[in-house]
């Protein structure tokens, strides 16, 4: 069982990581907008930052699996 539990746990976390980063980015951006009155700018920045963090973090989480696949593929086929 141990062989699949650890990868499964990482993959279970990846989706949440992606979603939460985006939501946090949007909400922080909206909050800053409300405080400063710069209406859409900070929300847009928040979305971009959230997306960037989600992409980089998500990529890092998936990296071991990408490596594993590219390493094992030639062997199998």
């Amino acid at each position: 069982m141990g062989s699949w539990v650890v990868p499964t746990a990482s993959l279970l976390g990846a989706g949440w990581y992606f979603a939460t980063c985006l939501i946090l980015g949007v909400f922080v951006g909206q909050w800053v907008d409300e405080k400063t009155g710069l209406e859409p700018i900070c929300t847009l920045i928040g979305i971009v930052v959230g997306l960037a963090v989600a992409a980089v973090g998500g990529y890092r989480m998936l990296l071991p699996f990408i490596r594993k696949v590219s390493y094992t593929d030639p062997e199998q086929g």
């Binding site: 069982m1 141990g2 539990v5 650890v6 746990a9 990482s10 279970l12 976390g13 949440w16 990581y17 939460t20 980063c21 963090v53 980089v56 973090g57 890092r60 989480m61 998936l62 990296l63 071991p64 490596r67």
Partner: protein
């Protein structure tokens, strides 16, 4: 013959469904997301989910006590059962975390698993969400409008209050089959007076044959007067008691005492009737809600959040314990790009709490709503299927929560093991690399 049996079976199932639909159809559920408060002791609100968790706690303690009261080398059935459960958990934990770490993590992981699964399965017992005390919804609506009237501003957000038509209020109640349900809605921008008008119309629609005209705006004067007439005509319908809206003038005229006595008694204004509503009395049926005594513990987000925080604290504690302050260097360092990666790592630690919280809450709350809704739509047979599914979901969620805690804990201390490998056992590097977690893989 086969065809006859098949047709007979279908007819039997249809008959059971029809009988259920006609006789035992549940009231349309009023879904309330936060846990309902049963009573308040000091500053502590005793909610129904808290009460459930106490009962489950007591059950677990009693079972553990009874099963381990007289431990024998050749176990009896009770001891055997408990040993079997723990052995199963122990095997899983040791397989993932290894023998030494497994024993360290076992207590917390097994506690989480048993606690979550007991609560989830306990929440499927039939008296959950059915038996409780009844809550007077009329009182709530009255207070809501009164508070807005005191502030003197229109409602900023639309409010709504679900209710059932009930026979009594203030006692132990069972959610009665076929109870009528309804919803009282206030729209954004309504003044307290318009909210009162809506309330009068809602009562007339619910308790008499009165039909309100279609439309979204506040009710017109004719509609409210018609509703009042309909309520007064029916002896069993609720009665709206009005007083003349001249309390303020009386105060000005110098009847200070009288006005003070009057203001102690809450009244709410009606815009269409130009009068104050003193009270609403219910000669026949009243409007209320069953506040269940028991509700599944993890259908309350506070409880899942508490579990998430506990798991988080233990994971960080084990990480610190294994690596000392070196553990923190994973998150805080000043090595160029790695400092950004550290922030990502830190973020993912906290996001785990959120995912722990909402995964469990979402699954259990959704299951509860699904069962309530299906009991309303199709009382017999179909909910039983969903109960089976919920048993499975309860087990899976407990396993996921416990296993994730275990895996994250293993990851938190894994870095330590790697460093040891680098110091001495180079030949074991390959084996260790095979079990690299994502963070560690990136660190190299």
């Amino acid at each position: 013959m086969k065809v006859l049996k098949l047709i007979g079976g279908i007819i039997a199932v249809a008959a059971v469904l029809a009988v259920g639909l006609y006789i035992a159809k549940g009231p349309q559920p009023v879904i309330i997301v936060p846990a309902e408060v049963l009573t308040t002791i000091g500053f502590l609100n005793i909610t129904n989910t808290l009460l459930t968790s106490w009962v489950v706690m007591a059950v677990i303690i009693i079972v553990a006590f009874v099963c381990t009261r007289s431990l024998k080398l050749i176990p009896g059935s009770a001891q055997n059962f408990l040993e079997g459960v723990l052995q199963f958990l122990m095997d899983q934990v040791e397989e993932i975390a290894g023998a030494t770490n497994g024993r360290k993590f076992f207590m917390v992981v097994a506690t989480i698993f048993l606690w979550v699964i007991c609560n989830n399965w306990f929440g499927l017992l039939p008296f959950f969400n059915a038996i409780g005390k009844s809550e007077d919804v009329n009182h709530h609506i009255f207070e809501m409008i009164h508070e807005q009237d005191e502030e003197g501003t229109p409602f900023e957000e639309g409010e709504s209050q679900g209710y059932w038509v009930m026979e009594n209020s203030g006692n132990w109640t069972v959610a009665k089959p076929r109870a009528e349900s309804g919803e009282y809605e206030i729209e954004t921008g309504d003044t307290a007076g318009q909210a009162t008008d809506r309330y009068i119309v809602m009562l007339a629609v619910q308790f008499t044959d009165f039909e309100a005209p279609e439309g979204t705006g506040p009710p017109s004067v004719e509609t409210v007067e018609g509703a009042m007439a309909a309520l007064n005509a029916d002896p069993l319908a609720p009665k709206v008691h009005l007083v003349e809206a001249h309390a303020e003038e009386g105060e000005e005229a110098g009847h200070g005492e009288e006005a003070a006595a009057e203001s102690e008694h809450h009244t709410i204004p009606s815009e269409a009737l130009h009068a104050e509503v003193e009270s609403v009395t219910f000669p026949g049926q009243t409007i209320g809600l069953v506040i269940p005594f028991f509700r599944s513990t993890f259908s309350d987000v506070n409880n899942t959040l508490a579990m998430g925080i506990i798991a988080f604290i233990f994971i960080e504690f084990w990480g610190l314990q294994a690596l000392g302050f070196g553990y923190l260097s994973k998150f805080f360092n000043l090595k160029g790009i790695m400092s950004f990666v550290g922030i990502l790592e830190l973020l993912s630690e906290f996001i785990r709490v959120i995912s722990f919280t909402f995964r469990l809450f979402g699954n259990i709350f959704a299951g509860e709503v699904l069962i309530l809704m299906l009991t309303f739509l199709m009382p017999f047979l179909l909910p039983n299927v969903i109960y089976g599914l919920e048993l499975f979901v309860g087990f899976i969620q407990a396993a996921v929560f416990a296993l994730l805690t275990l895996v994250f804990a293993t990851m938190a201390i894994e870095h330590h093991d790697e460093e040891e490998h680098h110091e001495g056992h180079h030949d074991e590097d390959a084996a260790a690399d095979a079990h690299h977690h994502p963070g560690a893989a990136q660190a190299h």
